[in-house]
Symmetry: C2
Subunit: 460 residues, 2 copies
DNA sequence: CCTCTCAAG
DNA sequence: CCTTGAGAG
């Protein structure tokens, strides 16, 4: 590439610098739920510090779905097992090996038709420690604060505990290794046998109640069994045609996955959508589920999607967004499959990699839809109106690309955002950008706690 | 191309339909200037109707730069010569032949250093009739109304006559024939020997005082001599590297051209700019000229530009726009080369093919710059806030593309828009879109009359 | 289905 | 300099 062309490519991908980053940062505050943040965070205690725990191999029952009250795994909050075992993760290794013998043979129906398959419940602390073991040669992951935006009156309390939501494009293994061309990321850092622990570590650190993933090409052999063992219900929808399929030694198509904690929610309805644009089907999909909260009795509609990538496709994204909004309107007004008073608002959370900056039409569509959605991460900014400066930041042969593409939308009249996980700084991300030895994906995970604004019993 | 891919390509290029088109339409009203609209307009009288005039071959002096008063060529306003001579245009043919012997040898300096070379002044009505002759086998061009937006108090009067401004990307001949791939346009319609008459007909129909063109690859052999003979001063700036140069039998690089009527204005200063982005020079250019109005004594700064095309280059366009605004600020605050009270506002008009929809960053930059610019064509909409639905509409192998990319920006505190030429409807444009047998370019011409808000003598 | 690389004009 | 089309993965 000649200098001029390279310059153009770089210019084309310049990072938006006009938006201010988040300013108000608070440390983790003691909430109902401890997030077990400690061992692998730089600045809070690196790996190998505070060695205390041992590494039991038995399967522990960490959470129960029998009781209605939210049970949060809180054991060993600031302890770490670290160097007790270095070579491989025994528990996780056993789990994966036992379950990946028929990776593609396990239909989603199986998971959805066996609502009480919590026979092999695993202790998440245990599993997190195993991740730390496997990853001990990796650099410590930078710490991310949970930020409680100022001026919000928290709605959560013991009868209305907040719901933790995570949104993350985890980077399809086939794409990361095979064709995405992250030239500044060592191939070694993309090796699946380690990267999967990095992803799992992130999930286990924050233990969301609802987990929305994109670019999942290891659902049946990895995430479904592991998440099921941790007490989650999972659902997966592959893209009709995935670019992963062009990579040699691929693991099947990538797609969206939606998990929820079965101790907190029960499933009322699922819709697997193929997004359309101008009446024609596209290659993008969405999962929409209506959940019933076992604690409050409230219902909640959750959706996950991954829109068409790249510039030049703004109109298609906008049409796909319109189609999704239309489906969501239909689902939430139907009352999630229940025949009920149509006036009852069904609160909605939509997580996704929209592949669109906030300036794009599809963002405007979501902001201004009759569903009354707002984007949670705006609350991280000092003016509470500005999206983060980036949710993905990568270096490709064509140049550096720093942009805000991922969002958590929520019904602002029905839900309140209690806190958000902050965005790593440029320094924390490092000069090679994403992915890297400490960030397994080219996208950052987004996470927030929301709670119902209205207590259902007060409305009755 | 398989159906699915074709569908995606089409979706990608969908026409924005949310913006309302212009609603208020008025017929041409008798102004100071007759635009000679008549013969070749469908719906107003087709070609061959109302044959009256003869076709004198001598060179007539239509306008004089000696007197300060605006002299508008008005002879034979609704007459047409039509079928008096069918094969070729004598006057125009003579002109072109005499002047295109050394097409590339004529430097711009020549035109700019000989301010009184009006020896060969040509009657525009005469020339228009010759165009009509050559084009008589072409379908009649659809009529376009001059629209006087409601609610505007016109500022023009006999001591402050309005200034007619035309903005047009005329489509480089080398690109239209060679590589732009307008698959629905017959190659025959793109033949330069006829297309140049179609372009000239459009210019002669409206007779702007200021003419801003992009994609001019026939400046020295065609537009410079013809426009000079009509009493215009011209300036041309080629792109540093033009894609025309890759076409066999090209006529040199394309670039921007700026013409002004010498009876109305004199030239005070010219800047030929190569646009930069992030301190680095790009392949895009602009011409900026400071003019002195012979009627009102007011000065006016005029700029023409053509920004980087295609999606994926939004950031580069924005940077180029920022660079142009910076240069314009410097030029207008310097007072156009004159040392004067810096508080005096130098009114500004910026015409260009910005290759950017109104939703793009570069549009926002221009709207909100400290120069106080507004986009003239918004006044065509009923809410006076909305750009036209399209200024270009073409069908390429990759799909149909209908978008608003061209703008006339003006200093809203110093200038008032009296009227605008409306935008042809979808039906007028026809199913093959642009270009076509009646539209020589893939872009529509934009035209408006502006006048100074303040009489200069009232300020003194 | 999609995207990158390459070569041609 | 920049775009387009072919071909690979």
């Amino acid at each position: 590439m000649n200098p001029a062309r390279r310059c153009s490519a770089l210019l084309n991908q310049l990072c938006v610098s006009s938006r201010g980053g988040p300013t108000a940062r608070r440390p983790f505050s003691p909430a109902e739920r401890s997030s077990s943040a400690g061992p692998r965070y730089s600045g809070v205690g690196g790996r190998g510090v505070g060695v205390k725990g041992t590494c039991p191999q038995g399967k522990l029952s960490g959470a129960s779905i029998a009781g209605a009250a939210l049970v949060c795994p809180m054991g060993g909050s600031s302890s770490s097992s670290s160097s007790s075992s270095s070579s491989s993760s025994r528990l996780f290794g056993t789990l994966s090996q036992s379950l990946n013998s028929s990776p593609l043979a396990q239909p989603d129906l199986y998971a959805e038709e066996s609502p009480d398959q919590d026979l092999a419940e695993v202790d998440p602390d245990q599993l997190l420690r195993e991740c730390e073991d496997v990853l001990q040669r990796r650099p410590a992951r930078p710490h991310r604060d949970l930020v409680y935006p100022s001026g919000t009156a928290p709605c959560h309390h013991k009868h209305n505990p907040s719901i933790r939501i995570m949104q993350w494009n985890i980077l399809a293994q086939a794409l990361g290794e095979g064709k995405d061309g992250f030239i500044r990321c060592p191939l070694e850092a993309l090796n699946w046998q380690e990267r999967k622990y990095l992803i799992l570590e992130e999930i286990l650190t924050y233990r969301p109640d609802i987990l929305c993933l994109q670019e999942v090409d290891h659902y049946y052999d990895t995430f479904q069994p592991i998440m099921a063992s941790l007490g989650y219900h999972g659902s997966f929808l592959a893209k009709p045609w995935s670019p992963c399929l062009d990579v040699e030694q691929n693991n099947g198509p990538d797609g969206c996955a939606l998990f929820f904690r079965r101790s907190r929610f029960s499933l009322q309805a699922t819709a697997h959508l193929r997004l359309s644009a101008m009446m024609l089907p596209t290659n993008q999909v969405a999962i929409v589920q209506t959940l019933h909260c076992r604690v409050t009795g409230q219902r909640l509609c959750v959706a996950v999607t991954h829109l068409k990538a790249r510039s030049g496709w703004e109109r298609l994204r906008s049409a796909q967004g319109a189609d999704l909004l239309q489906s969501l309107r239909s689902i939430t007004s139907r009352g999630g499959g229940q025949s009920e008073a149509p006036s009852a608002v069904l609160p909605l959370v939509v997580c996704g990699d929209f592949n669109a900056e906030p300036s794009e039409d599809v963002y405007r569509r979501f902001s201004s839809s009759p569903l009354g959605l707002d984007s949670a991460y705006k609350l991280l900014s000092s003016d509470r109106q500005t999206e983060p400066a980036y949710t993905t930041w990568k270096i490709r042969p064509s140049g550096e690309s720093c942009s805000t593409l991922d969002y958590i939308w929520y019904t602002h009249d029905a839900l309140s955002v209690d806190c958000l996980l902050d965005i790593p700084t440029e320094e924390q991300i490092g000069p090679g950008r994403l992915p890297s030895y400490h960030y397994p994906s080219d996208h950052l995970s987004l996470l927030c706690d929301v709670s119902f604004r209205d207590e259902p019993h007060r409305l009755m």
